[in-house]
């Protein structure tokens, strides 16, 4: 590492410091907003300082790249709808992974260092960065609906293992023969990029949040390792902090879904057709009856799911809630840890609609209360209230903690059609005696219920 002027070092140090303060701030609702702003200043300081590195070439090219990438992402980030947030996070994350792999590629192309540790870390960083890049692109495509189904190769796990071993073998060859021949480097990157694609393609949409979080941790680690290669402590600190935080976050999410990470990666959920057949019929209800059931209830628990978000019904649902509360009904929201497409995604969507925190409850907090509820209103949620997860060992979602909506006196389900949930599993709840189906888009249905509630006064 060349010795850099103190103002460059100082800028990077300040950047790293502000990142940690920012992340700390983001870990509590009260200070979260300030946290991201603080981290934002850290980024500006670190980037500005980098321009002062002596002997920096290609400045014009650099400015064009910064403006192109930065402005493009800034505008798309401003425009994206809250419901589409998870795939946006995925794609930005993938870009970071790609950048980390790119740093390694430039180093290899230059012939870079011959120092073993440096080459090892450059190779590892390049491998996980490249996997994160293509994997995140697949995750984006799936959540965006570009890729509709999971593609599963025959002997998928064997293919994954062989590809991973081949990539690692080429990586080892690069370390041993450093500086590596160009063909070797190109082959290594091709394999690493392919690995990200092949590993992610068979993973179902329901598992995608965990995968995005995992790739987020991957990118962090890749950035940290490339930071070592460049001798830049700010990159090491920011990258490793995110790597560690992301790993923990991934574990928390996997735990909430009761899907060990190894299951998500190696035994993807089998779609539809599995699990026991369910007997019985679904019973329909109209909006007027649904309104009456809730109006004359003492306690209603609303279980919102991704379907509510897609229908942009959260504002109507909140209006309906306010009417019910005026009529003296106690209303609470029950949020499953994986409701929406990422943990906490539903909280964000409800916050957008103006629902206060103190009406929103986690699974652990509210599950005991369903027994005392007169009505559980399920809006666009499916798998997270499927009692099959408790009982049917053959079901792909067996063991996932669910909201005990089936224990409420009455269950009303607002749903667009008779289809299955994201996991492709039939929902036994819909066939129970105390369950009524209200077919239709969540937004017009909520609007109709509001009309009826108003006439009931």
């Amino acid at each position: 590492m060349m010795t850099l002027p103190i103002y460059v070092q100082g800028a990077w140090f300040l950047g790293a410091l502000l990142f940690i303060f920012g992340l700390k701030g983001m870990s509590s609702p009260a200070t979260a907003r300030r946290g991201i702003v603080v981290a934002g200043y850290g980024m500006l300081v670190a980037v500005a300082g980098t321009f002062l590195v002596p002997g920096l070439q290609n400045l014009a090219l650099m400015l064009v790249a910064l403006v192109l990438g930065g402005a493009g992402a800034w505008i798309s980030g401003q425009r994206v709808k809250m419901t589409d947030m998870p795939q946006m996070v995925a794609i930005y994350n993938g870009m970071g992974g790609g950048a980390a792999a790119g740093i390694a590629a430039v180093e290899f192309a230059r012939g870079g260092s011959h120092h073993t540790i440096t080459v090892v870390l450059a190779v590892i960083g390049a491998l996980i960065g490249a996997v994160s890049f293509t994997g995140s692109c697949v995750a984006w495509a799936k959540l965006q609906g570009v890729l509709k189904k999971a593609y599963r190769l025959p002997a998928q796990n064997a293919v994954n293992v062989v590809l991973a071993l081949a990539a690692v073998a080429l990586g080892v060859a690069m370390v041993v023969s450093a500086p590596a021949r160009p063909e070797l480097v190109v082959g290594f990157f091709a394999l690493a990029l392919l690995l990200g694609l092949v590993v992610t393609l068979p993973i179902g949409g329901a598992d995608m949040p965990v995968v995005i979080s995992l790739f987020n941790a991957f990118t962090g680690l890749a950035v940290g390792f490339e930071g070592y290669v460049l001798g830049n402590p700010a990159l090491i600190i920011a990258g490793i902090v995110v790597g560690a935080a992301g790993t923990l976050l991934t574990q928390l999410m996997a735990k909430a879904m009761n899907r060990p990470l190894s299951n998500i990666l190696f035994t993807p959920m089998v779609a539809a057709g599995s699990g026991e057949a369910i007997s019985g019929t679904m019973k329909e209800v109209g909006p007027i009856d649904a309104a009456a059931m809730m109006r004359y209830a003492a306690k209603v628990i609303i279980v919102p799911g991704y379907g509510m978000a897609v229908a942009h019904a959260q504002h109507k649902v909140w209006e309906m809630t306010e009417l019910l509360e005026e009529a003296g009904v106690e209303v609470k929201f029950a949020i499953h840890p994986v409701a929406g497409r990422m943990p906490g995604h539903m909280n964000v969507l409800l916050a957008e609609a103006g629902v206060p925190y103190d009406k929103i409850f986690d699974l652990d907090e509210i599950n005991g209360e369903f027994g005392q509820a007169d009505v559980a209103l399920i809006i666009g949620a499916n798998d997270v209230v499927n009692p099959t997860a408790r009982t049917d060992k053959s079901s792909p979602i067996y063991g996932m903690p669910i909201l005990n909506a089936d224990q409420a006196q009455n269950v009303i389900v607002i749903k667009r059609g008779k289809g299955t949930g994201y996991s492709g599993v039939e929902n036994a709840l819909f066939y129970t005696d105390n369950c009524r189906m209200l077919y239709g888009d969540a937004q017009p249905m909520a609007a109709e219920i509001i009309q009826h509630l108003k006439t009931m006064g």
């Binding site: 930005y92 962090g220 990258g239």
Partner: protein, 94 residues
């Protein structure tokens, strides 16, 4: 950089990341994932250094893409995180 010194940095940074996340409410998981996504956008600094030392056309091309991708990671990560957290802020004031 001194290999051992870097190892210490790795260790301390890993602890820092772990501790910061350990006590976070579920409600903040999505913004936090997004926020940490923004922070590893600092990769743009590394990409700038790589491009800054690039000499051949191939190196320049890869470096250019790395900087553009890194800048997109940082800018996009910031905007979406800020938007999400902004909604929480509004709520508290109400």
């Amino acid at each position: 950089m001194d290999g051992m010194l870097a190892l210490y940095i790795f260790m301390l940074a890993a602890f820092t990341g772990y501790e910061i996340i350990a006590k976070v409410p579920v409600i903040l998981h999505t913004p936090l994932m997004s926020g940490s996504n923004f922070i590893h956008g600092v990769v743009v600094v590394g990409a700038m250094i790589a491009l800054g030392g690039a000499e051949t056309v191939v190196e320049q091309a890869i470096g250019f893409f790395a900087v553009a991708l890194g800048a997109a990671n940082a800018a996009g990560g910031y905007v979406v995180t800020e938007r999400m957290l902004g909604m929480f802020k509004k709520k508290e004031g109400a």
